[in-house]
Symmetry: C2
Subunit: 217 residues, 2 copies
DNA sequence: AAAGGTATGTTGTATTTACAACACGGGAGG
DNA sequence: CCTCCCGTGTTGTAAATACAACATACCTTT
């Protein structure tokens, strides 16, 4: 638990909170910890409205449809929360969470974290702001995905994504955090068609790439 | 201002807050009010990080690309907030806001609403939770849009949207809140192609519709 | 009632995509 | 070293879409 607590303290959710407040918050929230193997679907909290906080590893939020097409919504890496909006609104968004690699997850009750009684804890004020900031940040991430998905052609979707990556890295050379299949799922296009379009973009002198390493020309 | 205050009190953001707390909050937040005509683009707050709260009318959040294609993200109706995530994160999502009809908007400083000093107001605790809940709710709305957009064909996108509308109305008969062009922009497809697909759905006995009135068969 | 504007439906064609099947190469493990 | 597996690139074809142009219905205004 000591290693967990240390990891917990470094997350954005618990940022700017001192030792005493941290202990008090932790005692109140009493999160339970669980570990999941690569590829494992995380159990959806039924009765208790809980959200996840990734301590280590990574969790993919996605939605599979009946035909086998997968829509990759976002990746929650160490320090990120997930399922928090469903938990806070008590309304199901029906997103699946899958461990991308071996992942350690803290489950935090939304009733506690976003309920009125949290106010009885020291440091709750900063904690609540952190939570708000995390949810807001996630909304921006979703908006970005929507921007890419909203483009009409695969080429436009790819360029929108690549330019966005380039911007966030502050360089025209960068690595993307997705495999080809993941990127295709993220942009909601066919993988092989996307691969072909990547080739076409390189042939047209728009980009250079090898594996996950890209350069905008 | 009296009418505005009354409208303000009815919004979700100020729900569950009593008269005295309301006055104190309002005095602290000191929102400024503005009115916009149908079709008017709302000015983006540059220096002051502010978000909008719609008092009356409706505001469309969208993104136009160079080619003239419009991506309709969501509609903020009376009582809804918008641009709050950008304001909270102090990071621009570059979404445009357009008055769908004559709209009255309160501009609230995010530094005040989500900053530490809000804690000096009575009722801030409930207010903060309301704000958190509003942002979380919006994330779910975006997830829903992503679900529809993520489907591969126009037919699937339409059915995903219509089934979602049917669920939220609790009936297989319902009205949709979009014009054809708006719906096409929302689903990121071509309007005329979408119209054709609606006809095909009706021909195939999947749906009946007239104007905005739909029935799932 | 007439007229003009807007929203919606229709159709044909060029473009783009999905889909399927396969080729290729690198890495892991025996 | 060999083999298997997985990720990636390629290609051809059928299907779906965007696009443009036009037809029709509806609403508003005069």
């Amino acid at each position: 638990m000591n290693a967990d607590a240390a990891a917990l303290k470094k997350t954005r959710l618990f940022g700017g909170i001192n030792e005493r407040e941290f202990s008090e918050l932790l005692a109140y929230l009493a999160p339970r910890c669980a570990e999941y193997d690569r590829g494992e679907y995380l159990p959806k909290p039924e009765t208790t409205r809980a959200f996840g906080l990734v301590l280590s590893g990574a969790v993919l939020l996605l939605r599979d449809d009946r035909r086998g097409d997968r829509n990759l919504i976002l990746r929650a890496s160490a320090g990120d929360t997930f399922w928090e909006s469903q938990a806070i609104c008590q309304r199901c968004a029906d997103l699946d969470a899958v461990a991308e690699e071996k992942a350690r997850v803290f489950w935090i009750s939304a009733e506690k974290a976003a309920g009125p009684h949290i106010a009885e804890c020291a440091g709750y004020c900063r904690f609540t702001r952190n939570l708000l900031s995390a949810v807001a940040e996630k909304e921006l991430v979703l908006c970005e995905k929507i921007t890419h998905m909203g483009r009409r052609t695969t080429r436009q979707k790819l360029m929108s994504f690549l330019e966005s990556q380039s911007r966030s890295y502050g360089s025209r050379v960068f690595d993307i955090p997705f495999s080809r299949q993941q990127l295709a799922d993220y942009l909601s296009v066919d993988r092989s068609a996307m691969s072909a379009e990547l080739s076409a973009l390189a042939r047209d002198g728009m980009i250079k790439y090898e594996r996950s390493h890209f350069e905008l020309l």
